[in-house]
């Protein structure tokens, strides 16, 4: 059946309106960004800023070594993200399980969350990075990589645990009851019903924490890991230019974009599936 005359007219109007809106958006974007560019580039200090921060040749020279240093950042945050998720889920579950047998572990989980959320991440990095090896205990790791992994996992695990706990508590109690009523055990209900819903619900804040974590791998330069920021620092100190920092910044930004798109994708997919759109 072909659409009615009225419907065709509505479609024509909508098309015209969206064209006009697109044009307005384009013009205003160009005006504002162009205006900003003019203000910045006309400022008296711009030539110097341009030379030190945005020099194309410096950037090209710094790129390869910063790129290879950034591989370390990637390795770090991939490992840490997995560990943080595991620690976060375990701590969150320990805190919500109503079992009295777990009381001492629960207390431990509360203290852990309080302490590590309250301590500046940089401090945790320094304490673990320099403190743990100084103990000279058998079996404690001495590799800087793993010390760094431990420090950031401790710090971010505490945040993520709280996010996941909030997610678990936000699931409607009838979901618990329905699971238990089907004869599923507490653990099965948690694993198959509550946790999947909780994680989905908190995915955006969770990925937000991961974005923050990816940037904070730069803190590990303080214990001597030569990652992207440290590498930029080295070049910058050598040639008295700041462009390498900008290059490093671009790497960090680039690394967060996949995460942001992943969040969008997951959100849209679960919306689409669950609402049948």
């Amino acid at each position: 059946m072909s659409p009615s005359e009225r419907q065709l007219e509505r479609q024509r109007f909508r098309r015209r309106r969206s064209l006009i809106r697109g044009a307005v958006a384009a013009v205003s974007t160009v005006l504002i960004l162009g205006g900003l560019a003019v203000i910045v580039t006309q400022s008296p200090g711009w030539p110097r800023v341009h030379r030190t921060f945005f020099d194309w040749n410096d950037a090209k020279d710094a790129f390869p070594s910063i790129a290879s240093a950034f591989v370390l950042n990637i390795r770090l945050f991939l490992v840490i993200e997995v560990l943080v998720l595991i620690v976060g889920i375990i701590v969150a579950i320990v805190r919500v399980v109503p079992s009295p047998a777990l009381a001492p572990i629960k207390l431990l989980a509360i203290v852990y969350a309080d302490v590590f959320r309250g301590t500046p991440t940089l401090l945790v990095v320094l304490l673990v990075g320099f403190g743990v090896p100084a103990l000279e205990l058998q079996g404690t790791p001495t590799s800087l990589f793993w010390l760094g992994v431990i420090a950031l996992t401790l710090s971010y695990g505490a945040y993520v645990a709280e996010v996941i706990r909030a997610g678990i508590l936000s699931i409607h109690p009838t979901q618990w009851a329905s699971g238990r009523a089907l004869g599923l055990t507490y653990g099965q209900t948690m694993r198959h019903i509550v946790l999947p819903q909780a994680i989905r619900r908190v995915a955006p804040p969770l990925l937000n924490d991961f974005v923050s974590l990816q940037k904070d791998t730069a803190l590990l330069s303080t214990i001597g890991l030569v990652e992207a920021l440290r590498q930029a620092q080295v070049i910058s100190g050598h040639y008295f230019i700041f462009t390498p920092y900008v290059v490093a910044a671009l790497f960090f930004i680039a690394a967060t974009i996949p995460l942001a798109r992943l969040t969008d994708f997951l959100t849209v997919r679960s919306l689409r599936r669950e609402n049948g759109i």
Binding site: T174, S178, A181, L182, G183, T185, Q188, I193, E274
Partner: protein, 245 residues
């Protein structure tokens, strides 16, 4: 004489210092449909939740067949597998498709093979006319369809007793009929059912016995005929006149 499936004996339950169930005695025989009626807050939901061990009784005992299920040494998960319950809303798991909702219990709690559970689920869905919704997610179903799926999900566990807690009261009146049809079908298959309801005409039609609950006590038990036409207790009469207008 049909045998007793479920029996409550002087069951008491308090929340804080509010006593919600003040000694409930109830016997449910095989294949019987019992309707619980009573004012809001009279303890209908609490009683059903106690029968399913979702709430712990404070005193008295509950028997399923010849087993005392209020015994703390009992495996509550095992008991719940044979006592199904459907609530007013939020029964279905929104992150699982209709089919997976039904398959989950038999596979995880009963240890059935996934393929078998799948076939059973498809057949159950077919019977309630929702076979084409197997892959849909709960939020894409109407409220009435959701409740029908919740009913067959409970049935997939092949319970000895089915407890229904006002499963139509959150529904648009237009959708109530389909859900009641499923309950009628279950009854004709010989399912033992205990249901709390505000649908008086349905209670009258389907119940073998009607239980009037008032302030945590059973005020009156009788056949629907007797309760609705010749209530013995003045409180039952008052409740019914208020309800039926």
């Amino acid at each position: 004489m049909a045998e007793t499936v479920l029996r409550a004996d002087a069951v008491r339950k308090s929340f804080g210092d509010q006593e919600v169930l003040k000694g409930i005695d109830l016997e449910v025989t095989q294949g019987e449909v019992i309707c619980l009626i009573g004012a809001s807050g009279s303890g209908k939901s609490t009683l059903l939740r106690c029968l399913n061990l979702l709430e712990q009784v404070d005193d008295g005992d509950i028997w399923l067949d010849d087993q005392e299920i209020t015994d703390p040494r009992i495996d509550v998960d095992k008991v719940r597998r044979s006592v199904g319950i459907v609530f007013q809303a939020y029964n279905l798991f929104p992150h699982l498709s209709v089919l997976d909702n039904i398959v989950l219990g038999p596979v995880k709690a009963l240890g059935h093979k996934r393929a078998d559970a799948h076939d059973q689920a498809v057949e159950l869905l077919d019977r309630i006319g929702l076979a084409d919704k197997a892959k849909a997610y709960p939020d894409a179903l109407s409220g009435g369809q959701q409740q029908r799926v919740a009913l067959v999900r409970a049935m997939a566990m092949q319970p000895k007793v089915l407890l229904l807690d006002e499963i139509t009261s959150a529904l648009d009146p237009m959708l109530v009929g389909d859900v009641l049809d499923v309950i009628r079908a279950l009854r004709s298959e010989g399912m033992t059912i205990v249901m709390a309801t505000h649908e008086m005409s349905f209670a009258r039609e389907i119940a073998d016995r009607v239980v009037f609950l008032c302030e945590g006590q059973i005020e009156e038990i009788g056949t629907p005929e007797q309760i609705f036409t010749a209530p013995r207790s003045p409180r039952t009469a008052e409740f019914l006149t208020r309800y039926l207008g």
